[in-house]
Symmetry: C2
Subunit: 255 residues, 2 copies
Amino acid sequence: MLSGVHFQALPNIPEISPGDDLAAIISQALEDADLILEDTSVLVVAQKVVSKAEGRLVDLACVTPTPRATELARLTGKDSRLVELVLEESSDVLRAVPGVMIVRHRLGYVMANAGIDQSNLPDNASGQRALLLPRDPAASAQALSAGLETRQGTHPGIIISDSFGRPWRNGVVNVALASAGVPALIDQRSGTDRHGRTLHNTLIAHADAIAAGAALVMGEAGEGTPVAVVSGLSLSDTVVDASALIRPLESDLFQ
Amino acid sequence: MLSGVHFQALPNIPEISPGDDLAAIISQALEDADLILEDTSVLVVAQKVVSKAEGRLVDLACVTPTPRATELARLTGKDSRLVELVLEESSDVLRAVPGVMIVRHRLGYVMANAGIDQSNLPDNASGQRALLLPRDPAASAQALSAGLETRQGTHPGIIISDSFGRPWRNGVVNVALASAGVPALIDQRSGTDRHGRTLHNTLIAHADAIAAGAALVMGEAGEGTPVAVVSGLSLSDTVVDASALIRPLESDLFQ
């Protein structure tokens, strides 16, 4: 076995429907692929399949836009019912220009369109359906971890990932929306470097790095590989939840 | 051989000094570790060792701060000579508060302190030395790629990485400062999803994902592993330089 960190796509995950037991489906896929999880394994699971299993699919025909949504729809050129959903999911609109709304999601993430997605949904070529983020992604990660522990007898880390746009840099990267059993943030601020100098500001977004790397095997478009198995990670640091990755408004120096 | 993407730290890279031939040193370390590069291999190299090899180390005793640097030093609580270097390396100061300067580096990166670093430098426990970014990281990546091709007979991709802080999210992640032979940005905007719907806004920051994943084996603090070897990547997309990852000011929707 090579040393290092290995990312592998989990094959044969079927299309996920509301009510599906994701832990059972992933467990079956692991067995079909002859993959044995270890206690240091991490599963990166695309938010999309968690949301689908939790029935977070909304039919736009059932959404009535408020006047504010109608106004923002005019400004952004978006469907007013989609804008209504974005507003319902958000605590603040940071930016609304043609084509884009950047909002603070009610859970704290700053992201485009409150993470609401219209791609890779069945029967949605016409864009009449939209998928919201899980209601409580941290709870989803915990439930998935517990479900896998029951079925596999091991305690893998879980990261629920989503792709985010970023200020100042082109392109999306995967980040950790939520996690369980993983050190999401590693604090090396009290350590020293190789030459004895105290390290400042070395707070490492570990779960985001894992999520970003996982995107290399999960794909973004039509690949249908929403789960990656990561092995070889050092998970010896204190476990902190991915909510620690959300920078509190009052200390955000980039605002 | 497992399918998937594998990240491995390259052991036994010595302390790098000005004038060192980094391609020769990496080549030797690859041979010592019995690692054979393939044409689809990517080497992620920490900016720090590139800068050290290029002699970008500055003795603060030789820096004379301008009045503006002195003023910003008072505001931020930083050494005025360090602030002077930050200003010399930057085209714009976006934010200066106690402890932090966020600037636009002359090469376009928006980052803390123009990427100037005082950790992991020899004889620097007192903080009298500072390391600037390479003068032209894209040229450094090309030179490293050419040097390795000469020595190894293969044409690996090169990413020069650095850890960046981020708006809205805690912790640093590795990003690609520069690249050679790698599709830094993959454009899937004209593709369709699995259900036939056209994908919008799916522009993937591929080189940043590789750099982020590499941090999992390179470490941030005292590990002394500034090079990661990445295998199993699909590099079939069009090669675009990591400069494509810098979002032009006029289209930055997050400003």
